[in-house]
């Protein structure tokens, strides 16, 4: 990690340091509502980063990533509710199961040459299939949902993610930061370069000795495992899980918007994207209620229009443009 820091130019170091300090000190300056918005921003920055590794670097489009969030959430929640096993331990099982599912999806796709849109549809089918399955399985609570009980006496057990808003804020901040570090390390590693090669031209990559199947599988495994950790956070933050919500294709779409808007294949893209989109969504709710427009869906219409505008104006994402404006140089492959 030290080499990463040393590799940055002073300007970048300054900006990152300022951002971290600002985020760490935020609870002192802003109210609870904004902290909850920021928590959401950081959560999406993290899961968006996990998805970005698979898509932005390895070039594999997954539109069913909610599958891994849901699996991570349910595994950790079930272990807690039925066996009293805390998330600090449950996260390992969550990651493992998500990686198994990821391996299956990856194997089906890569072994049989399912690419591009077809692979994306495969991921959607896997998520939908699992959603319906969970809706009908008894011990996970079925469509009625799984609830984490409120236990007053347990508040303060931070390793069990039992606590107030602040606990979850700092956990989310830690996750987002960790996500950035992982992305930075991987993007400069041998594996990261192999991913880029496979993304750009798989045939050429193979002619250079790269085992494309293994590279892609590794991408899916890393991405699904990382996403599952976000799922564990989700379960203990919201304390209730419904298959129709957590596995839904809307969740899958939601978590990929940030990286695409921010900038695929860049380390800070998902972070920038999350900082743009989540407050935009929340702000639009506030704006429409302030203007007295009481129509449900008004916020989402503006949101959709913003997406269209961004993808037309800045198809490579906002971060590469922003970095240029700030005079930074992120190697944006």
């Amino acid at each position: 990690m030290i080499e990463l820091w040393r590799g940055l130019e002073p300007r970048a170091r300054g900006l990152i340091a300022m951002l971290l300090v600002a985020l760490a000190a935020a609870p002192l300056a802003v109210d609870r509502y904004l902290i909850s918005v920021l928590t959401l921003v950081l959560y999406f920055a993290y899961v968006g980063q996990a998805w970005n590794l698979m898509m932005g670097y390895a070039g594999q489009l997954s539109l069913g990533h909610a599958l891994y969030v849901g699996l991570g959430a349910y595994v950790a929640a079930l272990l807690w509710v039925h066996f009293g096993i805390g998330p600090w331990l449950g996260v390992f099982a969550a990651v493992l199961l998500a990686m198994v599912f990821g391996a299956v999806v990856g194997w089906l796709g890569f072994r049989f040459g399912v690419e591009g849109v077809y692979f994306a549809l495969l991921t959607i089918a896997a998520a939908e299939f699992t959603r319906i399955a969970f809706d009908n399985i008894g011990f996970t609570g079925g469509s009625g949902g799984l609830f984490l009980p409120y236990q007053q006496e347990r508040l303060g057990e931070w390793w069990n993610l039992r606590g107030g808003q602040l606990l979850f804020y700092y956990v989310a901040l830690a996750l987002a930061a960790a996500g950035v570090v992982v992305a930075a390390k991987l993007s400069r590693s041998r594996l990261g370069y192999q991913w880029l090669a496979v993304r750009e031209d798989e045939i050429a990559a193979r002619s250079l000795g790269i085992n494309a199947f293994r590279a892609k599988m590794t991408a899916v495994l890393v991405s699904s495992g990382m996403t599952a950790v976000g799922g564990v956070f989700y379960a203990f933050y919201y304390n209730n899980l419904f298959p129709a919500q957590v596995f839904d294709i809307e969740r899958s779409i939601e978590l990929i918007l940030g990286p695409i808007v921010g900038g695929l294949g860049t380390v800070f893209g998902p972070v920038v994207g999350a900082f743009i989109l989540t407050p935009l969504g929340e702000g639009l709710i506030a704006l429409t209620s302030r203007l007295g427009i009481d129509a449900p869906g008004a916020k989402a219409v503006f949101y959709g229009l913003t997406l269209i505008a961004i993808i037309c104006a800045r198809p490579n994402g906002v971060w590469p443009w922003l970095a240029r404006v700030l005079g930074l140089k992120e190697r944006s492959p």
Binding site: M55, L61, L63, L108, G109, F112, G113, V114, G116, V117, Y118, A120, L121, L122, I124, A125, A126, E128, F129, I132, A133, D135, N136, S143, I249, E250, I253, I256, L257, I260, V261, L264, A295, P296, G297, A298, K299, A300, V301, Y303, G304, L305, T306, L307, I308, I311, C312, P315
Partner: protein, 289 residues
Amino acid sequence: MIWSIYLGVVVQGVLTGLVYGLMALGLSVIFGVVRVVNFAHGEFAVVAMYAAFLLFHTLGLDPLVTMLPIAATFFLVGFLLQATLINSFVGRSEHEQFILLVGIAIVILNGLLMLFGPDARPANLPYAFDSYAVGPLFIDKVRIYSAVAALAIAATLFCFFRYTATGTAIRACADNLTGAAVVGLNVKRLYAITFGVGLACVGAAGALMVTIADAAPTLGPAYTLLAFIIVIVGGLGSMAGALVGGVLIGVSEALAGFIIQPSMKSMFSFALLIAVLVLRPRGLLGRRA
């Protein structure tokens, strides 16, 4: 007597499947020719459902009749949409197209939500509960009419692509884009026509669907997925494939909903999609790439 119940379910599935097939036909045309991943496909269908619903409730016009003007309007919308916004996204990466169409889908879905509210709106046709007695079966009139209409439109489309100059030109674009451009075909205009034709199918299908299902904004994503499943199972680039795929999915969902449980009816469709993607990507009737 039990077999007649199953047969009834199957027939129901076939008839509904033909209407789904018409909707999927629109996607097959758009995805197969223009190669745009139309993730707003289902949302357009829902708009058509509402349009037919409105025309029926305000003017008393039967959707089977308003199907044609709705289809014509959708043709125009598709033509304009492609020529203006979507054309610059043709040939760009899938995720960019995806975001554009998802944005459009979100706008449509929530626009409908704002206009009509979240409740499902049924078009209460006067003959909605009539049925024909065929042997031991009772088949809903609405389903037969809409299935026949779907087939009629599909047949018209088939003739268009096979026997007209424009239709042949469009098929040329799908086969070999560079060749088509080199021969002097106005690809941009042909793409716009194709998108218009595709959306016209969706418009007609949506109008027909409101006779058998209630209009609700949230149906959009489900119909989009359904269209993709049908197109892939049936085979991209094959018009018959879209209809056959529609029938297959219609029957399987009807049977699955009846035998297992209504909430699980889509599970089989998704499993089928995965199987086709992995084992026979060109689908049942698709051309070998």
